[in-house]
């Protein structure tokens, strides 16, 4: 049962091949048997899952089954889940029981999905390797000496190890697409504002967007159908008509124009990654697409602009963790300042502290114009590059990450080396565009990701382009060796 796609599970449940309780118990058993190796979950919610599965089975029997009725999924531990610990992989929130559900958690409940548990991640979603989690690193199912990517590494590892058929995730600079690439999955980050951020613990509010990790574009379309909604509780959620993302999957790619940005194939790109992406381009040509070279001239400024804007927003957002209302509080504070400083000093890990301090620096008097204002101006130039490119092309294609999964500790103490792993994904967040990663090959047994970037609200087109690739190739059907 665990090797079935979400599409197959939905029909299996409806055709009474298995019940949701059987299916849910099967995944819970797999997690219990195998997750010691991967550490992909922080909290398991077996009791809740089995209760939800029983309800789902009743609804299936009554012929009253909503879209995902009875399908088990995992939620990244960045989403608030009422009555269940929501830690964001931080010591700061180790004792935090969310008092409400995130809107997307509610959406999945209403669609009848079953929650298996909460997945591991980089602390407060800050990282590209899952090494910053308070609960220890997640291991890549393809090679447990290697990182799964981050920050949604637990969601990615759980799906890649067939411990969950799909998982929710979030992406501020590549945190869905890069782990999708490193774990051989399909991952989509929708347009900024397409999915509600209500109840998703904030890192950088103008960049954060929730999405999904699955084993096919079809499954991603099914999951995104439930996740996307307009939500008045998120002031940046965009009131755009909803669409059924599965409807356009089968459309032919004849006449499609794919833009290939020069800047995504320059220095720093692993030659074997480049080779796999070039082979994918040939596949697209054989499917009827036209390839057009394009330029995104401000690409080299994306990582620098991001590491001003994201830390600045992070330092503002994380000021709420003060040891007063919830979360970690230090022992015996001698005064209020001591309470704040020690609670935060003890509760946050090193990478989170580093970003808070960089943000405080960029926003401090005398530096605001040189850093924050300048970065926001560059952000507009980056967006403008994409707007001009999309006048001529339907989608943009390139690598998701320069390299396949690297070993633990490989980026050592150099934060910049780690930041550059997101060099191809960050610009998409700055521009607010949708981006998707699908597997397109292996290097030494480790997956490589192909990135597709779409115009605003073109999630349907992206999923169509990804699905057609998956009809012509079988990279997405390959699973990590140890999953059987």
């Amino acid at each position: 049962m665990h090797s079935k796609t979400i599409a197959q599970l939905i029909s299996g449940l409806r055709n009474k091949e298995f019940s949701s309780v059987e299916l849910t118990q099967h995944f819970l058993d797999r997690i219990a048997a195998h997750d010691d190796r991967y550490n992909s979950f922080i909290t398991l919610t077996g009791d809740i899952a089995l209760t939800q599965a029983q309800v789902a089975d009743q609804r299936l029997a009554a012929g009253d089954a909503p879209a995902l009725c009875g399908v088990p999924i995992a939620h990244k531990d960045i989403f608030c889940t009422k009555g269940v610990r929501t830690s964001c992989a931080s010591k700061m929130l180790d004792n935090f029981i969310a008092p409400y559900d995130a809107t997307i958690v509610e959406n999945y409940q209403q669609a009848g999905a079953v929650m298996l548990g909460k997945t591991n991640m980089d602390e407060f979603a800050m990282g590209s390797s899952n090494e910053t989690s308070y609960y220890g690193p997640v291991k890549n199912p393809w090679n447990t000496n290697c990182v799964p990517g981050g920050s949604s590494g637990g969601s990615a590892a759980a799906v890649a190890a067939l411990l969950a058929p799909g998982a929710t995730a979030s992406d501020t600079g590549g945190s869905i697409r890069q782990p999708a690439a490193l774990c051989g999955l399909t991952g989509i980050k929708p347009t900024y504002g397409r999915v509600s951020r209500y109840g998703m613990i904030a890192f950088a509010s103008s960049l954060d967007q929730a999405g999904v990790l699955t084993r096919s574009a079809e499954d991603a379309a099914i999951m995104l159908n439930t996740m996307a909604s307009f939500d008045a509780k998120d002031s940046t959620c965009v009131d755009q008509p909803l669409e059924d993302y599965t409807q356009g999957l089968a459309a032919s790619l004849n006449g499609l124009t794919i833009g290939i940005p020069d800047e995504y194939f320059g220095e720093g790109l692993n030659p074997k990654t480049a080779e796999a992406v070039q082979a994918a381009i040939k596949t697209y040509q054989s499917l009827g697409a036209t390839i057009k070279p394009i330029s995104l001239p401000h690409t080299h400024l994306a990582v620098p602009a991001y590491y001003v804007i994201a830390p600045a927003e992070c330092s503002a957002n994380l000021s709420r963790f003060d040891g007063v209302r919830y979360g970690h509080r230090c022992e015996d504070p001698k005064d209020l300042a001591d309470l704040y400083k020690r609670s935060r000093g003890e509760g946050f890990g090193n990478e989170v502290k580093r970003r808070i301090l960089v943000g405080a620096y960029a926003l401090s008097a005398g530096y605001y114009d040189a850093y924050y204002n300048k970065a926001q101006q560059v952000r507009r130039l980056i967006k403008q590059d994409f707007v001009e490119a999309f006048a001529d092309v339907d989608v943009i294609l390139g690598p998701t990450a320069p390299n396949p999964a690297f070993e633990f500790g490989a980026k050592g103490g150099d934060p910049v080396a780690m930041y550059l792993e997101d060099i191809y994904t960050i610009a998409t967040n700055l521009a607010g565009l949708p981006g998707l990663s699908i597997p397109c090959g292996l290097i030494d047994g480790k997956p490589i990701g192909l990135q597709l970037i779409g115009n605003y609200f073109a999630e349907g087109k992206l999923l169509n382009v990804a699905h057609q690739f998956q009809q012509a190739t079988d990279f997405h059907q390959q699973t990590a060796p140890a999953t059987a």
Binding site: G323, L357, L381, L433
Partner: protein, 95 residues
Amino acid sequence: MAVDQSDIEKLAELARLQISEEAAAETAQSISQVLELVDQLQAADTQNVKPMAHPLDAVQRLRADVVTETDQRESLQAMAPATQDGLYLVPKVIE
């Protein structure tokens, strides 16, 4: 731009974040690396470019000024480190 240990201490004070003395030196070094990266922005020509705060240049949505939230003080305070009579407790601020 490089920062030194005393800059880190000032920033940590602004951010109300305790950094141990040993960690401050290491932090100064890694933050200097990050600042060296972001200093590449200075070379960009941004004359007459309007700063961009929101990808879709959206503005704040307004709503009618009516109560939509219910009182959840008890459940919200249930997870607080210290409360009394419905108030959050902190060390004495006023002598």
